[in-house]
Symmetry: C2
Subunit: 356 residues, 2 copies
């Protein structure tokens, strides 16, 4: 690995222990029983460590929704036709998709990136075009992409984050769209965790039992044909991944390099995190798992990464919809630390000395 | 029961099945796989049924934080001195408490009600004074209050909601403050569910093992002395309850009567819900359980009520902090239904006919 990717990985430093200690001390001065805001308190302390600020800020928010098509749809793995990928891009651009509604509510801008939709899309000022190719190859017949394409996809994600940081970015969410991408993510998950296909394959947009069995077979065949090597994450991404997944790997790495906390969405973002953490183990501490999705392999994947999801709402839409809900909670956590009064400021008595 | 309380209970009608059916149909037309927004979809359908609108609205939001003192603190059940109840009221009024920060983030107004703080508070235009008495009696020595006081507390809660509805109210959250109120709530929970004190008593603001054992003993003694009758919820509220808990019973009943969805907070709100649902079983369908708190008896209590919490973030602050996070999710659910495009509007293909 040379150039932008390896430089970005080198830029990822440990969390700022000084900021963490200061944030933790401040939490204990605020007018509430110590620890009584639970995971919001933990989250505020993580944000402090990532941003390197005792009082972290979550004002400038973005969700980056990466889109790509998958050759493996030729095997009949999805309940929806391939055309839906491009159609949903236009839906994102016109503001009618789930991610638009929820991102607007939390005040996050939506950055839509064409990483490899199978058709040429109409140009739009609201669409970033970083198309690596017109969809991946069918991983049941050959590798999904070349290693060069995998690196290009990751580096595109890095560049997208660079542009967002220039606009102001305190936190970033990851999102995805791509008919067939739960199949690719299942293959990545199986390859990286060593689990069998049957343990990680789920129903995606909604397939029945027979189609599920077929999807397990498709993933098994792709793995048997390609032999992705879990010690070489770029090999896994190239052989059974996707362009939008590669883009998300880049988003995560670059965000950590810039000390921007990353709220990861569901199963597809999780698959990208498996690759990204394998490339840069320090990244793990910069990630916030927004939710555990209804997709079968996601809980297992998060456990493998040691990430504890904030939400468990049976969501499985993708697009970054879970991530923006996580951004809301991160903002809540940061505001608690920044805006609550201390016992001294409010003139509130602390715990009784005759206490525990 | 006569007058305002019984009239309010009579006003509670079933959910609007027509609105529920229309909301459910619309969810299935939106540009996402059916059911893929999980509990947000269910929540939007519940909101439709409560409000009686196929597309529910969550714009005018309030959290009602009811405050009261407890005679049982004389038994040494809390890690904090009794003075903290009044001090926290001033903290609410000056905007420095956890509830202020989180309510501001979600755009909910905070309505602070003195239901029975043990001292006279300085008047403030931002404080509603509905003081029933200067704190309850010590339930280890006698009933916490008379049945007349219990009714007064509930009716005060009803009137508070009436005033808020007049200002515009699409959703309401419940909150509480009162040193000693996890002890009263534990006693209510034990009385209403038939569980032993040891199963429902928790650490409140943070007591150690020895104090926990003492708190179990205090609750057991209060129950043995007063014999609250679970078939008579007003008897339970009077004997082992609290003024702020009674006020919250009224808030829940009145909100349901006005068809306003109620997002309930943690253990204290849960204890109020036990009483309120016993008075008006239809109320259950109007309630949204925001979260399961870290307080020991809360999970058991929610299971008893058949309510599934939205969040599980180890929070145990009270004040309505969990409720306002739940209000955020309810607003998200409503916006999804109102603002997402349908497949037809967006020109997105529906599921393949050759599918499942």
């Amino acid at each position: 690995m040379l150039g932008l990717l390896s430089n970005t990985i080198e830029m990822i430093k440990p969390l700022d222990e000084g900021a963490i200690a200061e944030a933790r001390s401040r939490q204990d001065l605020l007018t509430k029983p110590q620890g009584s805001l639970g995971r919001l308190e933990e989250l505020s302390i993580q944000l402090a460590g990532v941003q390197g600020k005792p009082i972290p800020q979550v004002r400038h928010k973005a969700v980056i929704t990466m889109v790509g098509d998958h050759g493996v749809v030729a095997e009949g793995v999805s309940a929806y036709p391939r055309e839906v990928t491009a159609q949903m891009v236009y839906n994102f651009l016109s503001g009618g998709a789930g991610i638009n509604v929820l991102a607007h509510q939390v005040g996050a801008r939506v950055v839509v990136v064409d990483m490899g939709v199978a058709v040429e899309l109409e140009p739009s000022s609201r669409l970033m075009s970083r198309k690596v190719a017109l969809g991946t190859q069918n991983m049941c017949l050959c590798p999904a992409m070349t290693v060069e394409q995998a690196v290009t996809a990751i580096e595109s994600g890095i560049e997208v984050v660079g542009a967002e940081v220039a606009k102001g970015l305190d936190i970033v969410g990851t999102g995805d769209m791509g008919i067939g991408n739960t199949t690719a993510s299942s293959a990545i998950c199986a390859a990286m965790t060593g689990k069998a296909a049957a343990e990680v394959v789920g129903r995606g947009t909604g397939i029945d039992d027979k189609q599920l069995e077929h999807k397990v077979d498709v993933v098994s065949r792709a793995l048997a044909l390609n032999h992705p090597d879990p010690r070489q994450p770029l090999d896994v991404l190239a052989k059974v991944g996707g362009f939008e997944i590669g883009g998300l790997v880049g988003v995560m790495l670059a965000a950590a390099a810039y000390r921007v906390p990353v709220v990861i969405d569901g199963f597809i973002s999780g698959a990208a995190a498996l690759i990204a953490i394998a490339l840069a183990p320090r990244l793990r501490h910069f990630l916030i798992a927004a939710h555990v999705s209804a997709e079968a392999g996601h809980r297992l994947l998060l456990r493998h990464l040691g990430l504890k999801p904030l939400l468990d709402l049976d969501m499985r839409l993708g697009e970054g919809t879970g991530a923006v809900l996580g951004i809301f909670l991160a903002e809540a956590a940061a505001k608690i630390l920044a805006e609550m009064s201390t016992f001294a400021e409010a003139g509130v008595s602390e715990r009784s000395k005759l206490g525990d």
